[in-house]
């Protein structure tokens, strides 16, 4: 499979439109719940940000309760991306892995090697930092990519980590 990040971004934009999101921060939890996906918090291993699976026909997103809330938001959005884009992959595995398949966010996903992970990252990035709102925020104040304080202020506004914002601005998501 080849990753199609633009398809992922468009899926995120469609959700933002359907939910009537008018500004940031984007209410990701609310969106997840409105899509009847169960959001669960649990103390997970440090390198595990979240998981997406289907159990008894119910979509579930697990988020590491010990991580920073901004990281939790990105993980939740990323896992929502798996549910929106990769339902078939998640669903297929129900038959082979003790009732459900788990997609773990780990080092591989953060490196963006796996096509599923590339798409989920692109989805999460567009969902939490929609181009439309990002551009107006940048137009309003201007931004120097080397300006740490500026990036951090922008990240706070969107309630994402500064690292996620840097990635987004550098076009890596």
């Amino acid at each position: 499979m080849t990753a199609n990040p633009e398809r992922a971004r468009e899926a995120a934009r469609a959700i933002l439109r359907a939910f009537g999101v008018k500004g940031v921060p984007v209410p990701v939890e609310r969106i997840i719940k409105a899509r009847n996906i169960v959001l669960q918090y649990a103390p997970l291993e440090e390198d595990l940000s979240g998981m997406a699976y289907i159990k008894d026909g119910v979509g579930i997103i697990g988020v590491n309760a010990l991580h920073h809330p901004n990281r939790q938001r990105f993980s939740a959005a990323h896992e929502l991306g798996h549910h929106e884009l990769h339902a078939q992959e998640i669903g297929k595995a129900v038959h082979v892995d003790k009732g459900f398949r788990v997609l773990l966010r780990d080092d591989v996903s953060s490196q963006g090697i796996d096509p599923l992970e590339i798409e989920a990252n692109a989805f999460a990035s567009e969902l939490l930092m929609p181009s439309e709102f990002l551009l107006s925020a940048l137009d309003a104040g201007g931004l120097d990519i080397e300006d740490d304080a500026g990036i951090e202020a922008l990240a706070r506004k969107f309630r994402v980590s500064a690292a996620a914002m840097r990635y987004r601005l550098a076009g890596r998501f």
Binding site: P25, E29, R30, K33, V38, L39, Q40, Y41, A42, P43, L44, E45, E46, N64, A65, L66, H68, P69, N70, Q72, R159
Partner: protein, 470 residues
């Protein structure tokens, strides 16, 4: 990573003056399956006297607390610390642990020259199962059976909750048994009300609470008074200037425009009323919070979410009003006077980085080399506890003058009512005031303790008379 359920048995209820004598903890995975357990006891510190009511509660005879084969208090705290660090990061849970067990643990760590905030540092977080079960009773009654007392109020004592929910408890007020019971109650909530459990876990992290209260356009705050839950829609109006973890919220049942039109004096008068429309929460104390869109009907009680959110935005968009409300609320506070007892000064500031390094050095050194380390500590509280620790653990390394000084101070704590802890006479009086015909001392526990106290009074009086000519 995991949950850690823990409990303590202590010599009494007074933080800083009473000690832990039994500590137990169970580590579970994220699904509450046990993966490890730990238990340790300690013998009594020489200057601490158990309160008779504590002995009666936990059923520990004085002879058991004096058993010389038990680890010293210092060795117990070292063992607890080592185990809990090996289990970190985790979410730490106990029953009424925020107000009690965790406070006892913090004091024990601090008084043995360790960083006090083990359960909230090291990427750990914490919450209190007591709040969880009260929230369960309030918003998800099918979750747990809560016994009702003769006055018609719910009872949240662990022992009675266990009984009402078919949780078999081997021995109430035994640390390990209470940990198992607490874990069982959590399993019931986890199975029966996933939503409630998720909120509980989520808000165990301080940063998550801070983020939530500041980001949401209103949310439900649940507070408990006299075992009853009270839910209010609120919006965060600012930070507590005197406490970094404090946040102020305004009840959205209030008429916001009326506040905005008030003079400073009128506002102060208004905020002095009970119940006050300004509520305070601690982001590090796992408050019971619910997003408006998650709130069950019983909690909302007919409130219109859209109207609440509109009112919340009205408040948030008026930072000047928020600042006025916070300053009016805090202006009537009495200034806090520091205690003269080191035991009550845990919250009077953190040790500096140099003292932190010296504390590490202290534990790694031979006893003979620890005195100069203690004497080099900048923080007078740490010097006080460090010298006391040396006296307990390695009296022989102390110069005679210093040893005598410590003996005077420590024995003084057993006879001086102003010293803060329970004195010999007070302990004896408490036994004598305990009704003897209620069958609560069938095992002769208090009678044995009384004999011990009488003997100790004679020894201490004699010792102080000889040593200090008192």
């Amino acid at each position: 990573m995991s949950f850690v359920f823990f409990d303590t048995e202590t010599t009494g209820l007074k933080h800083g003056f009473d000690q832990i004598v039994h500590f137990a903890a169970i580590r579970t995975d994220a699904n509450l399956n046990e993966i490890d357990r730990f238990e340790v006891r300690s013998r009594l510190l020489p200057h601490v006297l158990p309160h008779p009511a504590a002995l009666r509660t936990n059923g520990l005879p004085i002879g058991r607390l004096l058993d010389s084969s038990l680890p010293s208090h210092y060795d117990m705290v070292r063992a607890i610390r080592q185990k809990l660090l090996s289990w970190s990061p985790s979410i730490f849970l106990g029953y009424n642990s925020m107000r009690f067990d965790e406070e006892m643990l913090r004091h024990a760590l601090f008084q043995t020259l360790h960083p006090a905030y083990l359960t909230s540092n090291h990427n750990n977080s914490r919450a209190d199962v007591w709040g969880l079960v009260m929230a369960a009773a309030a918003v998800s009654p099918a979750c747990l059976n809560v016994p009702i007392g003769p006055e018609g109020r719910p009872i949240f004592r662990l022992e009675q909750l266990a009984l009402a929910n078919g949780v078999v408890q081997e021995q109430a007020h035994d640390a390990l048994s209470d940990v198992i019971t607490t874990l069982e109650l959590c399993r019931l909530v986890h199975q029966r009300s996933s939503e409630l459990w998720q909120r509980f876990v989520r808000f165990s992290k301080k940063a998550t609470v801070a983020d939530f209260v500041e980001a949401e356009d209103g949310f439900m705050l649940t507070e408990f008074f006299a075992n009853q839950a009270y839910h209010a829609p609120v919006v965060c109006i600012g930070r507590d200037p005197d406490q970094a973890n404090g946040r102020f919220c305004l009840s959205l049942n209030s008429d916001v425009d009326r506040f905005a039109a008030m003079t400073e004096d009128e506002l102060r008068t208004e905020l002095a009323q009970k119940p006050c429309p300004v509520r305070r929460l601690r982001i590090n104390a796992a408050p019971t919070l619910t997003a408006l869109y998650d709130a069950p009907g019983v909690m909302l009680d007919g409130l219109d979410i859209d109207a609440i959110e509109t009112r919340a935005r009205r408040v948030k968009d008026d930072p000047a009003l928020c600042a006025r409300l916070v300053s009016s609320y805090t202006s009537t506070r009495e200034p806090r006077i520091p205690s003269r007892h080191a035991e009550e000064r845990l919250y009077d500031g953190f040790p500096g980085p140099q003292d932190e390094a010296r504390m590490i050095e202290f534990h790694d050194a031979d006893w003979a080399d620890r005195l100069p380390i203690v004497q080099s500590l900048d923080d007078e509280r740490l010097r006080f506890f460090g010298l006391r620790l040396l006296y307990f653990e390695a009296r022989s390394v102390l110069p005679e003058v210093l040893r005598l000084e410590l003996e005077r101070a420590l024995s003084g704590r057993l006879v001086d009512a102003e010293a803060g802890g329970l004195t010999l006479e007070q302990a004896l009086r408490a036994i004598d005031e305990t009704p003897s015909d209620d069958g609560s001392d069938a095992g002769g526990l208090l009678a044995d303790y009384r004999s011990y106290l009488v003997g100790r009074i004679a020894r201490v009086t004699d010792f102080r008379a000889k040593q200090f000519a008192i």
